[in-house]
């Protein structure tokens, strides 16, 4: 857990203060420090736990000043975050797996009350007893409730998306809670070299949090979340729908501004990232660290002249409907990698598959589409697995049959 000081080197550009070897959790903690978060509520559950460890260390070491509250459960933890956010404190929370689900009541209301705290979700399986490995169903649970939800693939992105996330969430046009999801173990606990922005640069990018007319304060007498019965709920949903739609534009603006401050870190359309897709016939699309074996597989298969690429979907909510439709309809076949499950759903696909397929339905050129259920419960998705998924998707491009429509990856069979 110790920071490898020996590898620290200074950066001349001025927007970075130093470079360090950090895992995903530690990177998030630095993001929280640089976002100058006011209130942190914490309750341990791995893999998220190390985020709270890293934050408490930053505070104890005098590098960061924030209210750090240890709650008695995730439910209280998320309530603290929600309430802090309503009094204009930039607030941070996080959890994993069933802990995330245990605080669900507060998570739902944070969204309907349109408050913009940021939560990190260290993705974890929904606990068949003792399941600590990554699965995306935990974070996905808030996907339809008015949350912003994005997945990152490296500690660098994790740190940066704390800043980007707050900027989008707190924007006057949005004001929605932000879920920053990162794969348990593969990202939360794997170390990479991370460029740590300078506080000045972070401040230049991320404006002060200002809830303005909705700030709960004696000088601004309002009631937040009064009784909302059938006279109000449809209107509240409609109002929040508008914000969820506006968020798409705000996301683009945030990345553009991030690039202005930090150099060209992210490229359009920002919601997702394409890798070697320009002339590709076949692509895989996935969330989070699936990108690592997939990109390597792409490079290796490209060396053999195969036209494959990878689409790393970063933003799941709001879903980049038009951009992703335009992107994927260029290819002959798309393989959707689900690190989640949706038993009994249409065609029994995974959640991401449903979203991608639904997004493609109105497309003029619909690619063939296949689904992979892989890496569930934290099982490794290897480069060989990725190659196999590409090969299956290539076959799908040339046949109409639904055989092999869903393939389980890494299953003992």
């Amino acid at each position: 857990m110790s920071v490898a000081v020996a590898q620290t080197k200074s950066d001349q550009s001025g927007v970075y203060e130093r470079e360090d070897l950090l895992n995903g959790c530690q990177a998030v903690a630095h993001g929280v420090r640089l976002a100058d978060v006011d209130v942190i509520a914490a309750y341990p559950i791995r893999p998220y736990t190390e985020v709270m460890d890293a934050l408490s260390k930053l505070i104890a070491d005098g590098q960061f000043d924030a209210e750090y509250i240890i709650a008695d459960s995730e439910h209280s933890q998320f309530e603290i975050v929600k309430h802090a956010s309503s009094v204009n404190a930039r607030a941070f929370g996080g959890s994993s797996g069933t802990g995330w689900m245990y605080g669900m009541e507060a998570l739902v209301v944070t969204a309907t009350d349109r408050l913009p705290p940021l939560f990190v979700v260290g993705n974890r399986a929904l606990d068949d007893p003792g399941a600590f490995g990554v699965e995306h169903n935990d974070a996905m649970a808030v996907r339809d409730m008015g949350w912003l939800l994005c997945w990152v693939t490296t500690p660098q992105e994790a740190l940066e998306h704390v800043l980007i996330g707050y900027r989008i969430a707190e924007d006057k046009k949005v004001r929605m809670p932000m879920g920053l999801a990162m794969d348990g173990a593969f990202l939360t606990h794997s170390q990479h070299m991370v460029k740590i922005p300078s506080p000045e640069a972070a401040k230049r990018f991320l404006p002060q949090y200002d809830l303005a007319e909705r700030r709960l304060h004696p000088d601004n007498p309002i009631s937040v979340a009064p009784q909302a019965n059938e006279d109000w709920v449809i209107e509240i949903r409609r109002l929040n729908w508008e914000a969820a739609k506006r968020a798409r534009g705000v996301i683009k603006e945030a990345y553009k501004e991030f690039n202005n401050v930090f150099g060209e870190r992210y490229s359009a359309p920002y919601y997702f990232e394409e890798f070697m897709t320009e002339d590709a016939d076949v692509v895989l699309i996935g969330l989070g660290t699936v990108a690592a074996p997939a990109r390597t597989a792409v490079r290796r298969m490209r060396e053999k002249g195969q036209k494959v690429g990878y689409v790393n979907l970063r933003w799941f909510r709001p879903f980049p409907t038009v951009e992703l439709r335009d992107c994927l309809s260029r290819f002959k076949a798309v393989g959707v990698v689900d690190r989640d499950f949706a038993h009994g759903s249409p065609d029994d696909c995974g959640i991401l598959m449903h979203e991608v397929r639904s997004c493609l339905y109105p497309a003029k050129n619909r690619p063939a589409i296949v689904n992979f259920m892989g890496g569930l419960g934290g099982r490794d998705l290897s480069i060989a697995d990725a190659q196999r998924m590409y090969e299956t998707t290539q076959q799908a491009a040339t046949k109409d049959s639904m055989d092999g429509f869903i393939t389980w990856i890494g299953l003992r069979e």
């Binding site: 349109r114 909705r214 009631s223 109000w232 109002l239």
Partner: protein
């Protein structure tokens, strides 16, 4: 509730007979006559019936089940006013089956008998379009979705305060005063200006006046009786039957205008009996020497000769 019902904030004060259809029936539990109740109930453009089941406020406590057989009696009452909904035999069978307690079925039967057409005195009256009052409470127009503030936020009542009647800013969208069964009657001449009514009132109904008294804004008073309970002066604040009043005028202004006339008026409203609804406030039982209700026997009103404070 005959004065109107406010279900939630922004609903406005709604007439008790809002949902009563043509030739339908409004079943009321009351110890008043139809003519007395129609002084508060809004007119309808068609004929309907009003049926009065003799009894006192029971369900008005909302969260409190007094188990005074009002539920059972209402079932019996429905069987009498519209047997097509349920027959009295079915009500009795249901109550016996569910509770195995005969007195519950008997209470339903007694209520049924009291509302039948042949009953003496008749307790069901036809209400014509001429009966009732002109309903003056307007229904608030709810905002459209884009007119609402985001984040389930509503502005608080604008803060402000002036001495005298209606001096405090209050929520115009939620008053709740129409559903009370009793209201505090004040003898200003006995008041020691101790402030306790003003301090203790859970609904902030008391308005301080320039001469050190506390006026009452009855539109916001729910009749909980807390002021009467804490008032240290015997006979200064006394809870009295709400249906004696057809308006919510300021008692302090009344008193300032003609104090002798006011005292006579308020003493008349107070009458001799002191009415209390012990279980409604959850507290009044200590100040009431009421008759304990025996099982199966209906005692409409608890009256005591004197209220010990």
């Amino acid at each position: 509730m005959c004065k109107g019902v406010e279900p939630w904030g922004w609903h406005g004060v709604r007439p008790i007979n809002e949902r009563v259809v043509k030739d339908g029936c409004l079943l009321v539990v009351s110890n008043k006559k139809p003519e007395e109740l129609l002084k508060f109930i809004g007119k309808k453009p068609y004929n309907y019936r009003i049926a009065i089941l003799d009894g006192d406020a029971s369900l008005a406590g909302l969260w409190v089940n007094k188990d005074d057989l009002t539920h059972e009696r209402i079932l019996g009452g429905i069987a009498a006013i519209d047997p097509a909904v349920i027959s009295i035999e079915a009500v009795e069978a249901y109550l016996m089956d569910k509770t195995k307690q005969k007195h519950r079925a008997e209470a339903a039967r007694a209520a049924y008998e009291s509302l039948r057409q042949e009953a003496k005195p008749p307790r069901v009256k036809t209400v014509t379009p001429n009966d009732g009052i002109v309903w003056t409470h307007e229904r608030p127009v709810l905002p459209k979705w884009f007119e609402m503030q985001e984040g389930t936020v509503v502005p608080a009542v604008k803060r402000g305060f002036e001495m005298g009647p209606k001096g405090q800013s209050r929520n115009a969208m939620f008053k709740r005063g129409t559903t009370k069964t009793q209201r505090p009657a004040v003898r200003f001449d006995l008041c020691t200006k101790c402030t306790l009514c003003w301090v203790e009132c859970p609904d902030e109904c008391f308005d301080p006046t320039t001469d050190g008294f506390y006026d009452i804004e009855y539109q916001y008073c729910v009749g909980c009786g807390k002021c009467a309970e804490v008032c240290p002066v015997k006979e200064c604040i006394v809870m009295v039957d709400e249906l004696q009043f057809e308006d919510d005028h300021s008692p302090w202004e009344h008193w300032k205008k003609d104090s002798q006339e006011y005292i006579t008026w308020v003493e008349e409203k107070k009458g001799k009996d002191r009415v209390s609804y012990p279980f409604v406030t959850g507290k009044g039982i200590t100040v009431t020497q009421g008759v304990v209700m025996p099982e199966g026997k209906i005692v409409p009103v608890r009256k005591t000769e004197e209220v010990e404070v």
